[in-house]
């Protein structure tokens, strides 16, 4: 087995009593001494600090010097509208394959002279291959920097103690700010359903920034365990569980990420991998669909639990992510079912330890989002 990598916050995690686990090739904190439940609730009520330095930070620079060239090239890799994105704005994107499957879900931003892209840790290599093969007229570079997410209703007040200008940012804004004397790239985004920021910081300055934020009363360190329950309550997909190379954006209920200009009749229709399949599904629907699920009672239904349309019936679908939602105070899950069973409030049954347990299709998110629009 290859050696696990560490992030710039490795020493800090250990000094904070984190339980470290291997994740996507990195040693990462799954929880600190407070535990997953308290870390989750703290993020929803105050502010949580997450080390997300394992994620890929990628810069794309057009050799022509005209950023539109890079954005046009990205549209050949994604079903997403990239060209009209304004400087200082970020957007959710998807790389697709020829079958319409999802190769990765990413955040990308227009920084004026370059596109900045944040990729899932487990998909970094695959994304780089896609980008280097697809963007032959661009320089694609991986940034070896730290990435800290600060999430929760008190995140704004916390980060504003270091630079008050971040208060003026809106959801999905991104820009450079001086923080503790370092040039940081700050976006008002995250993956918890809460308001908050992601701060890209030079590797050697990451620990000082994290320590400074953790000195604030409202800020606590949060591990991957709570990151997972937070994103699940927010109805957000985990790559590898809820979406992968075999699920299309339409099956995954991510149509909102495919803007009108890329759809049939749009001014920049198609022209991305799997376009025929995806555009057809956008008009006619797909055979299966990702849905939110609310199991009855308190028993969580986790990844792999099979779903039936009738009590004791044959499986028709499967849960891809599930657990207990600490803020909801009940189990929540998501999974794939045939589209005719995907309407909210449809009654299904989860096969749990030999029993048929009722579960209802639900809209997502399971908790109200706190984004600052």
């Amino acid at each position: 087995m290859s050696q696990l990598k560490t992030t710039p916050l490795d020493g800090l995690h250990r000094s904070l009593g984190a339980k470290m686990v291997p994740f996507a090739g990195y040693e990462m904190p799954v929880q600190y001494s407070a535990g997953v439940l308290k870390e989750h609730l703290h993020t929803r009520s105050a502010a949580g600090l997450f080390d997300v330095s394992h994620m890929g930070q990628i810069e794309i620079r057009p050799r022509s010097g005209d950023l539109d060239d890079a954005k046009r090239a990205l549209e050949r890799l994604m079903p997403v509208s990239v060209l009209p994105l304004k400087t200082g704005r970020q957007r959710y994107g998807l790389f697709t394959n020829d079958q319409g499957g999802i190769m990765d879900d990413v955040m990308f931003a227009d920084l004026g002279d370059r596109v900045f892209l944040v990729a899932n840790a487990s998909r970094k290599e695959s994304d780089l291959e896609i980008l280097r093969n697809g963007l032959t007229d661009c320089d694609v570079t991986v940034l070896e920097r730290g990435l800290i997410a600060l999430q929760g209703p008190k995140a704004e007040a916390a980060l504003a103690t270091l630079n008050p200008a971040v208060r003026d940012m809106k959801f999905m804004d991104i820009g450079e700010f001086e923080i503790l004397g370092e040039r940081c790239l700050v976006s008002r985004a995250g993956y918890t359903g809460e308001d908050g920021y992601e701060i890209s910081v030079p590797a050697e300055a990451t620990e000082a920034l994290a320590k400074r934020l953790l000195e604030l009363e409202d800020v606590q360190p949060i591990g991957l365990g709570a990151r997972d329950s937070l994103r699940l309550e927010a109805g957000l997909c985990l790559y590898g569980n809820d979406i992968d190379e075999t699920t299309t954006p339409v099956e995954a209920a991510l149509e909102w990420a495919i803007q009108k200009p890329r759809r049939r009749g749009g001014e920049r229709e198609g022209g991305f991998p799997g376009a025929e399949i995806i555009l057809e599904q956008l008009e006619k629907g797909a055979a299966r669909r990702r849905v939110g699920l609310r199991p009855e009672g308190r028993a969580p239904m986790r990844e792999g639990v099979e779903l039936a349309a009738a009590e004791g019936g044959e499986p028709i679908g499967k849960i891809t992510s599930g657990g207990f939602g600490p803020t909801v105070g009940a189990p929540v899950a998501m999974g794939y079912v045939p589209t005719e069973h995907s309407a909210p409030d449809t009654q299904l049954y989860g096969l749990l330890r030999g029993r048929s347990v009722p579960v209802k299709v639900s809209t997502t998110p399971f908790v109200e989002s706190g984004y600052k629009r």
Binding site: V36, G225, R298, A299, P300, G323, F324, P326
Partner: protein
């Protein structure tokens, strides 16, 4: 008399019954529990049967019957308040009581000193 299993259960002998729960070490490893799937009262169980599932935010784990016997009581307080197991694993967080088939069924289990070595 207090005994321990390799599955991190504690077993306390009370008259002709035993009370069973999970150890503080196990509760710490699991993290805050969100659900305890209790066995049926009067169920006949065999040693090693997975008769209880405890779920934390992170994961589900099974608890096995430490010996052959019959379930006499379950801790129904855990239905609404599963974190009792974390707060008081040896007292309020007990999980079930059972009547043993045979008195010497617990002979192979560890005493407290042996369990401490086991988890060290």
């Amino acid at each position: 008399m207090l005994k321990f299993t390799e599955d991190h259960e504690w077993v306390r002998v009370e008259g002709d019954e035993i009370v069973v729960g999970i150890t503080e070490h196990a509760a710490e490893q699991l993290g805050d529990l969100v659900f305890v799937d209790l066995p049926e009262k009067d169920a006949t169980v065999s040693k090693g049967d997975e008769i209880v599932t405890v779920e934390s935010v992170k994961a589900a784990s099974d608890i096995t019957a430490p010996a052959d016997g019959t379930i006499t009581e379950v801790n129904s307080d855990l239905t609404d308040n599963p974190t009792l197991v974390n707060e008081s694993p040896m007292e309020a967080g007990w999980i079930f009581k059972m009547k043993l088939e045979s008195k010497d069924a617990l002979d192979g289990l560890m005493d407290e000193a042996a369990y401490r070595d086991f988890i060290a």
